[in-house]
């Protein structure tokens, strides 16, 4: 078992680090200024992101997890997780370009031309719309309807909520009930729905920088050719989408937790109280140690789940464990690092309070803690994973 990074992994991370240092870190000041002005969620704007993505493209940081035939680098899940950790050492939210929702690859040739390729190229933006006001964790319970009119088109009616990227998207991947009786087993269909077809979005303010949207569909007419996959089998696609990205959420959390711990460490060594650096006190040392332990544990959980994904093994159990643990760990690290900083940590002079608010989301979206625990327990009770089994 070799835990060392390969020379290639090290070099790619060096390239990412160089991009972060040169192009991303200098924006932290602007971001903090935007935060102070109450506009943190608007930063960075679309043009800035596009400019940064094209700059990164020159270094080959483009489509890092996209197949080579679509112009991606196809670096695999482990490398993508490592890159995600590195990238999130910087507090400016940013993703490399050249990627698309995994389920868009299931489209037919025409759909690939119209939706997949322009999304990879960064010319179009998608959002994944399944959650509704009355169906979050129990996504099988969605109520949005798609009914077929005599001409063969579909009419979509209903509301979607908490849709990431929904305010900026040019098209949405929308899940709607096409057969109420069958429900998730043959009765939910995925549609590619252009904004121009008539849906509207409304920004939802949140406690963090995540600014999701509420989408509204009133008799939105969608042609049959915009059905993604087979009619009735959209829920299967939705599960694939959710499963694919699960392991990358804790990867991002780890990078943020590492940045926080670094800040806590530096502050503890500088801040003097009662004649000593507070790092000399055991109370502070334990906070640092607990944070380091949890970060290390999360890192190993993520890399194990990512390795299974790359090996083509079923990693749903490990991804759930990694997502749950990483999401919780970063919250505890943020809490401790704020405590180490005392009053300064609570102010908007430092980015700690922003991270403290932001990372709370990880325990809620893309499967709540409770949903992860439910899956983990079910896997054990069903015997689909065995205690002590490694791969």
């Amino acid at each position: 078992m070799d835990f060392r990074l390969t020379p290639e992994q090290k070099m790619i991370l060096e390239t990412v680090r160089s991009f972060v240092k040169t192009d991303l870190l200098p924006l932290e000041v602007e971001m903090q200024t935007a935060e102070l002005a109450g506009k943190g969620h608007e930063y960075p704007d679309r043009e800035t992101v596009r400019r940064l993505q094209l700059k990164a493209k020159e270094l080959g940081l483009w489509g890092i997890n996209t197949p080579e035939q679509y112009g991606g680098a196809d670096l695999g899940t482990q490398m993508t997780a490592l890159i995600s950790m590195e990238l999130s050492h910087c507090l400016v939210p940013f993703q490399f370009g050249g990627s698309a929702d995994n389920i868009l690859f299931h489209g037919n040739d025409e759909q690939k031309q119209e939706y997949l390729l322009p999304t990879i190229a960064g010319e179009r933006r998608s959002c994944f719309a399944i959650t509704e006001p009355t169906a979050g964790s129990d996504a099988t319970n969605i109520r949005m309807t798609a009914t077929r009119d005599p001409g063969g088109d579909w009419l979509l009616n209903g509301e979607k909520i908490f849709i990431t990227g929904g305010n900026e998207a040019d098209f949405a991947i929308v899940f709607a009930v096409t057969d109420k009786e069958k429900g998730a087993r043959g009765g939910i269909t995925a549609f590619l729905v252009d904004r121009a077809m008539g849906w509207t979005s409304r920004f939802i303010p949140t406690m963090g920088s995540w600014g999701p949207a509420r989408l509204s569909f009133q008799n939105v007419r969608v042609p049959q050719r915009n059905v993604l996959g087979e009619v009735g089998w959209g829920f299967k696609l939705a599960m694939q989408w959710i499963g694919n990205g699960r392991v990358l959420i804790p990867a991002r959390a780890i990078g943020q937790a590492e940045r926080l711990l670094q800040a806590g460490l530096e502050y503890a060594e500088q801040r003097v109280a009662f004649g000593h650096a507070i790092a000399d006190y055991q109370a502070i040392q334990w906070m640092l140690a607990d944070s380091a332990i949890e970060i290390n544990a999360a890192r190993l959980l993520v890399m194990h789940a990512a390795w299974k994904q790359d090996e083509g093994l079923d990693n749903r159990h490990e991804a759930s464990i990694a997502k749950l643990y990483g999401a919780q760990a970063v919250g505890r690290v943020a809490d401790r690092v704020m405590q180490i900083h005392g009053g300064m940590g609570y102010t908007k002079e430092l980015p700690i309070e922003r991270l403290y608010r932001d990372v709370r989301l990880y325990r809620i979206y893309e499967g709540t803690d409770e949903i992860q625990k439910r899956s983990i327990a079910k896997n054990l009770l069903r015997g689909s994973v065995r205690i002590g089994e490694w791969d």
Partner: protein, 261 residues
Amino acid sequence: MQAVVLLKQVLDPEIPQKAFGVDPDRKVPQVDRAPQVLSIFDGNALELALRLRESREGVRIVALTLGPAGADDVLRKALALTVDEAVRVSADSVGLDSQQKARLLAAAIGQMGPVDLVLSGRQAADWEAGQVGAMVAEALSLPCVPFVSRVEGSDPLLVRQQLESGHAILRIPGPAVLTVTNDETNVLRPAKVKDVMAASRRQIRVLDMADLGPLDLGEPQVDLLSLSLPPGRAGAEMIEGESAQAKAQALARRLRQIGAV
């Protein structure tokens, strides 16, 4: 034109001071936990070579290092930056002095056919001796141009040499060794992802002592007698005060007290 760039793997100079130690008995740094990186000025030399290749047709770059298999990492990096060939002289360089290392490197360069240019960092980031480049020139009977920071013209080759104040532009008519110093234009570029992946499939040529033919390295001309860390300094003194003015006054009093002013 064939250009050979000498690359040295060193302990990462960025590691915290606290993490650095020496083994006084073996007279070597303790390397257990510290990462190894490409020496910074060698990175500048490599960047200069890459820029030269971009500005002139037919430049072939060979990256050359000396050391055990672990030193291949710097060559992998050079391959990821698209050098044309990577060569390692397989030898334990611990215990060799600058002249012996230079003779080994010169012997390897001698195996490469006509070489027009040898570039090295002006000094390595570990021992800071700054001798290997010049001694390679000596061993190859080539002129050595130290402190080169830029290529100003590629054909004929014009280089900028950094001087204590200002700089000189020199024309290099024939084969030469350049030792390279840092400059805002020669910071080593990051490798492109596709080149990193391609580099992993490329071969590193390994030369052992037998490949270099009969070679007299001579006796070390410098004997390392002892190696130690500088003594720890006393901690900083914090000047307290309610306001900037009070702090400045307290600082002035303290400076007078210790006889500094």
